[in-house]
C-alpha cells in the first residue's frame, strides 16, 4: 500500500534537483546536474538495475553511434563507460561515405551497469536513493518537489523525469501477462495519475524483446561467425585508442526459414498483438518476428543474430526474433532455426507496454511548457533506445541545472547535431510509435558526422561547464592543425614528375597532363590524403584524427559547402521567431487544422512551425504575411 496521511514526512536532506529513474537517461541527467554543482538525488526502484540494458546487448549502431559521440563531446558519460566494458566493436557502413560511418559495440551488460553505477556513486553532489516516486509536487505551475511511495517529501527546484518503460508497465507473451517493468522489475504504478492531475497528456507505447538462450544449447557450426573490427575505434574522444585494442568475442548469424514462418502464421491468433490484448503502439523499425512475417510475406528468410550478453554469462540474445507469442510457440519457432534446434530458453521473449508522454508538451529545452522546473528525457518522452535516452537525459539534466543557474536553456539545433534532430522531432512532430534515431532524419548529415562530433559540440560542452579546460584547449589545437593542413594541401603544387605519374598509375589514377594541387588529387575518388604521402614532400606527421578531418573536408568539399549553404537557409527560418503571445485564432486565413496544431505546439520559430505535420507550406506563407503586417 502506498503511504497514508500518517506516514507523510518531509525529508530534510537538502537537494536542488531530483532525477526520477536511473536508466540511460537518468544517469546522464543526474551526472550533468551534479557536475554543474547542484545537489542532486537520483531515485530508482532498484539500485541493482542502474544503467540496465534490458533489450539488445549493444551500444551505438547506425545514427545511434553518432548520438553516443555527441553525448561524449558535450561531456556525457555513455561513451566512456562503453569503451571500458565492450566485448566487440564494429564501424558500420565503412564502405559508404563518412557521414554514415557508425560505431557499434557489443557490451558486457553486467559490466556496463556496474561501471556506470561506480561512476555515479563516486560523483560529488550526487546521492542515489532506492525508492519509487509517486507524486510530482507543484504549485502554481511550478515544481516544488517529489513525494515517494513511503510518504517522504523531497523539496527541490527542478525535477527530471526519466522513467523509461516503468510507468504502469505490463509484460506480455501469449495470454500471460505480468504487471512488471522490464526483466521482471517492479513497475511504477502511481506517477501517471500524479502527472495527469498536473494536466499532462499520456500515451501508451509498446516495445518488445527476444528470448535469451543458453550458449551451451547452441550449435555454432551451423552459423556464420561475425567478428569485430581488426582495429577498434573508441566511442569517447577522451579514450586512448590503444586502450580499446582488446580480445573480442564473436556474434553469430543464422536465418529463419519457411518452417519458422509457418509456425508463426499458424499461431498468429494466439499473439496478443493480433488478438488486441496489447493496446500500446509498437515501433515499425524493430518489428517482432511475427510482424515481419505478416508484413513481408514474400521474404523466405529473415536474419537472426546470436549475440553474447556478456563475458561471465552463458545467456545469448536472439537478435531479429523479438516476439510476444506464447511460450510453447516460442520454443517451436526458435528451434526451427539452424543452430538453434536444441536451444534452451533462459528468459522468454515478451512485449512490454508502458505510459509515456506526447513530447509536444515539452519545449526544445525538454522542460514542460505547463510546469516550470519539470524536465523529462528518454523513453518517457516517447523515444526508444539507450542512446536516444542518454542524449535527452544529458540535455534535460543540463537544462534543469541551467534553470537553477538562471541561464537560458541549451538547444542543439538540427544543423549542430543528431541530438538536435532527435529533440526537435520529438517536441515538434506527432509520433504514434517509439521514436528511433535514423541518419535519414538528419537533413544535414554530411556535416553531422560521428568523426567530427567534438568539433561540433565540445565548445558548447565547455561553455556549459561539463568539459575541462584541458580538453577544450586540446580541441582548439586540433582545430588549428586541421585548418592549417587543409590550407597547405590547397596550396601545395604537384608537378608532372615521373614519380608523381608512376604513383598515380600504380593507384589506378589518370596521369597528370599539367600541374595541379595536392587538394585536387585528394578529391579524386580513387585517391586520398594518405595514399599521396610519398609525393607530398613537406608533409609533417599529424595525429590520425587530424588527418581524417583533412581528408574528409578536402574530398567532399563540394558537398559539404552545399550543405553549409542549406544550413544558412535553415538558420534564416529558425531565426524568424514567433512571438510567445501570438494569437493564432486571429490569423483568419489559417486552416483550422493548422490553427489547432500551432496552438497546441506553439512553435518558437517559423522554422519549427514549418516542421509541424498538418501545417502546410501555404499556412507558413499565411503566417509570414501575418507576422509582417
Amino acid at each position: 500500500m502506498k503511504y497514508s496521511a500518517d506516514s507523510v514526512w518531509e525529508n530534510k536532506d537538502e537537494y536542488d534537483i531530483a532525477v526520477v529513474g536511473a536508466g540511460h537517461a537518468g544517469c546522464e541527467a543526474a551526472l550533468a546536474a551534479a557536475r554543474l554543482g547542484f545537489r542532486t538525488v537520483m531515485f530508482t526502484v532498484s539500485v541493482d538495475s542502474i544503467a540496465l540494458m534490458p533489450c539488445n546487448p549493444n551500444i551505438g549502431g547506425s545514427s545511434k553511434g553518432h548520438l553516443v559521440r555527441e553525448v561524449d563531446a558535450l561531456g556525457g558519460e555513455m561513451g566512456k563507460v562503453i569503451d571500458r566494458t565492450f566485448i566487440q566493436s564494429k564501424m558500420l557502413n565503412k564502405s559508404k561515405g563518412p557521414a554514415v560511418h557508425s560505431l557499434r559495440a557489443q557490451a558486457d551488460k553486467a559490466d556496463y551497469s556496474r561501471e556506470m553505477r561506480r561512476v555515479l556513486e563516486n560523483q560529488e553532489n550526487l546521492d542515489i536513493r532506492q525508492m519509487e516516486v509517486t507524486d510530482i509536487l507543484a504549485d502554481h505551475g511550478k515544481v516544488t518537489g517529489v513525494q515517494t511511495y513511503s510518504g517522504a517529501i523531497y523539496r527541490v527546484k527542478a525535477v527530471v523525469l526519466c522513467t523509461g518503460t516503468y510507468l504502469k508497465a505490463r509484460c506480455i507473451y501469449g495470454d500471460v501477462s505480468t504487471n512488471t517493468g522490464p526483466n521482471g522489475l517492479q513497475s511504477a504504478n502511481y506517477l501517471t495519475e500524479s502527472l495527469k492531475a498536473l494536466g499532462i497528456e499520456m500515451y501508451r507505447f509498446k516495445t518488445g524483446t527476444p528470448a535469451r538462450i543458453d550458449r551451451n544449447s547452441v550449435d555454432f557450426s551451423k552459423m556464420e561467425e561475425q567478428k569485430g573490427d581488426e582495429r577498434v575505434v573508441p566511442f569517447s574522444f577522451t579514450t586512448d585508442p590503444e586502450d580499446v585494442q582488446i580480445d573480442q568475442v564473436s556474434c553469430w548469424l543464422t536465418y529463419t526459414n519457411e518452417k519458422t514462418h509457418e509456425i508463426i502464421r499458424a499461431n498468429l491468433d494466439r499473439s496478443p498483438l493480433f488478438s488486441g490484448a496489447i493496446e500500446g503502439t509498437g515501433p515499425r523499425y524493430c518489428p517482432s518476428i511475427e510482424d515481419k512475417v505478416v508484413k513481408f510475406p514474400d521474404r523466405d528468410r529473415h536474419q537472426v543474430f546470436i549475440e553474447p550478453e556478456g563475458l561471465h554469462t552463458n545467456e545469448m540474445y536472439v537478435g531479429g526474433m523479438s516476439s510476444s507469442l506464447p511460450e510453447d510457440v516460442q520454443y517451436a519457432m526458435y528451434r526451427s532455426v539452424p543452430g538453434l534446434e536444441h536451444a534452451k530458453i533462459v528468459r522468454n521473449a515478451y512485449a512490454i507496454e508502458y505510459d509515456c508522454i506526447d513530447a509536444r508538451q515539452l519545449k526544445s529545452t525538454l522542460e514542460f511548457k505547463k510546469i516550470e522546473g519539470l524536465f523529462s528525457g528518454g523513453q518517457f518522452n516517447g523515444s526508444s533506445g539507450y542512446e536516444e535516452a542518454a542524449a535527452q537525459g544529458l540535455i534535460a539534466g543540463i537544462n534543469a541545472a541551467r534553470k537553477l543557474q538562471g541561464k537560458e536553456g541549451i538547444v542543439i539545433d538540427r544543423s549542430q547535431g543528431y541530438i538536435g534532430v532527435l529533440i526537435d522531432d520529438l517536441v515538434t512532430k506527432e509520433s504514434h510509435e517509439p521514436y528511433r534515431m535514423m541518419t535519414s532524419r538528419a537533413e544535414y548529415r554530411l556535416l553531422l558526422r560521428q568523426d567530427n562530433a567534438d568539433l561540433r559540440l565540445t565548445k558548447i560542452g565547455y561553455e556549459i561547464g561539463l568539459i575541462s579546460r584541458e580538453r577544450y584547449e586540446k580541441l582548439l589545437e586540433k582545430e588549428k592543425m586541421i585548418e592549417e593542413e587543409i590550407r597547405r594541401a590547397e596550396h601545395t603544387n604537384i608537378g608532372t614528375s615521373p614519380e608523381v605519374q608512376s604513383l598515380l598509375q600504380s593507384l589506378g589514377s589518370t596521369p597528370l597532363t599539367s600541374g595541379t594541387t595536392l587538394a585536387e588529387l585528394i578529391r579524386r575518388p580513387e585517391l586520398s590524403y594518405e595514399k599521396l604521402a610519398q609525393i607530398d614532400k613537406n608533409r609533417v606527421d599529424l595525429p590520425y584524427d587530424v588527418i581524417e578531418q583533412v581528408d574528409i573536408n578536402i574530398k567532399y568539399d563540394g558537398y559539404i559547402k552545399r550543405q553549409m549553404r542549406q544550413v544558412e537557409q535553415f538558420k534564416k527560418m529558425e531565426n524568424r521567431k514567433i512571438p510567445d503571445d501570438i494569437n493564432y485564432d486571429e490569423v483568419k486565413s489559417l486552416r483550422i487544422e493548422a490553427k489547432q496544431k500551432l496552438n497546441q505546439i506553439r512553435p518558437s520559430s517559423i522554422g519549427q512551425a514549418s516542421r509541424i505535420s498538418g501545417v502546410s507550406p501555404a499556412d507558413i506563407s499565411v503566417l509570414l504575411v501575418y507576422l509582417k503586417s
Partner: protein, 456 residues
Amino acid sequence: MKRETIAAISTGMTNSGIGIVRISGEEAFSVADRVFMGKEKLSDVKSHTIHYGHIKDGEDTVDEVLVMAMRGPRTFTGEDTVEINCHGGTFVVKRVLETVLKNGARAAEPGEFTKRAFLNGKMDLSQAEAVIDVINSENEYALKSSLNQLKGSVRNKITDIRNRILYNTAYIESALDDPEHISLEGFSSELEKTTAGIRNELSELIRSADDGRIIKEGINTVILGKPNAGKSSLLNVLSGYERAIVTDIEGTTRDILEEQISLGGLSLNVIDTAGIRRTDDVIERIGVERAAEYAERADLIIYVVDASRKLDENDEKIFSMIYDKNTIILLNKSDLDTVISAEEIKERAGNIPVISVSAKEEQGIRDLEEQIKSMFFKGDVSFNDQVYISNVRQKNALIDARESMEKVLESIENGMPEDFYSIDLMDAYESLGSITGESVGEDLVNEIFSRFCMGK
C-alpha cells in the same frame, strides 16, 4: 488580420454581352447593399442565391443586373463575395465598378482574388498559379492547358516522379540504417537507369514549359523578306485589318511593327520588319539591323519570298540569317506570274518548309497555320494527354530537379558512396514538391518503414 474589401471586373475587357464585377471581403455585402437596389437587402438574403435589381449611383440608374450573393468560406476566395452580372458592354461594366469603388471597396490588384483564395487555403500553389494563368491566358489553347492543370495533370505527373525518387531513396536509407539486413549490392547500376529515365522525363516537362510559355504568351514571330516581298500584306491578312501601310513603293515599312494575332487559336506575336536590303537610308538601315536582331531571338521566322522576282544577294543574306532557326518560307505572290518555282526554293532551302501563298488572296494561310502547329506542338494540339508547365517558378523547380538528377548520375559515375545519392535525390524530391506545394515531412521515414523490412 483584417483585409480590405476589393472589387474588380472579373471578365475580360471585351465588348461581350455580359460583364461581371466581383466584390470580395468582409464588407462585400454592405458595399453591395449601398449600390444595389432589389427586392430585399443582400445582407438579409440566403447565401448562394441570385437576385434581380438595379445598380444605382446616387439617383442615376447605371444598369439592370443580376447579383449573386455568396458568403464565405464556400466561395472562390473563401471570403464573402458578391458578383454583379451586368448587361452592358465595356463602358457600363466600368461604370458599375466605379460605383462600387466609390462605395467602399478598393480596386483589386492583378491576381489578388487568387492570392486571397490561396491565403485562405482554398487552393494549393500549383492551382493558384494555374488560375492566374487562366486570367492571363489570351487564347483558347492556354485556357485549355490551364484548366487541364487545375485538374491535376501536372500534379499527377510530378507525383509519379516523386514517388519513384522516394522509393529509391528509401531503399538506400534503409540499407544505411540497417546495413546488416539490407544490402546495396548492384543497386547503383539499377539506380543509374532509373535516374537517367527520370532526368529525361524532367527534360520533357521542361520542354513543355517552353510550349506552355508559347501557349500563354504567344509565339514570337518575325517576318523577314526583301523589300516589297509582301510582308506587310501578309501581316494584314493575318491580323484581319490594315495595320501596316501597304504600298507598291519599296521600303515603305521603315519601322518595326508589332502585332498580336490569333491564327486558328494560336497566338502569334508578329513583328513585321523593314525589308532586308543594303541601304544608305539611315532610318531604314536601323530598321534592317533591328530586324536581324529580332530574328536572332525569335521563336519563329517567316521568310516571305516574292515569287515574281529572282533570288538575289539580299535573299542570300537572309538565308544566312535563318539557316539554323525555326523558319517557314512563304512563296508569296503565287497569284502573279512566277519566276521562282517552289522546287527551286525548296532546293535552296534544304530542310526549311516552303509554302506557296498569296497574301492578297489569302491562299495557303491555312497551310501556314498547320505548319506552325506541327512545328510547335509536335503536330498534336490535344491538351488531354500532354502536361504543360506554364510558369517560371515551376519551370525553375523542374530545372533544379533535373540538375539534382544530373548530380546523382555524376556521383554514380564517380563511384561516390550511396549515401551521397540520397542527398541529391531528396533535393530533387523537394524541388518537385515545391511545384505542388508539398513539403518532405515524414515521407522518407514512412517509405522506409512501409517498404523495407528493418531488423532487430
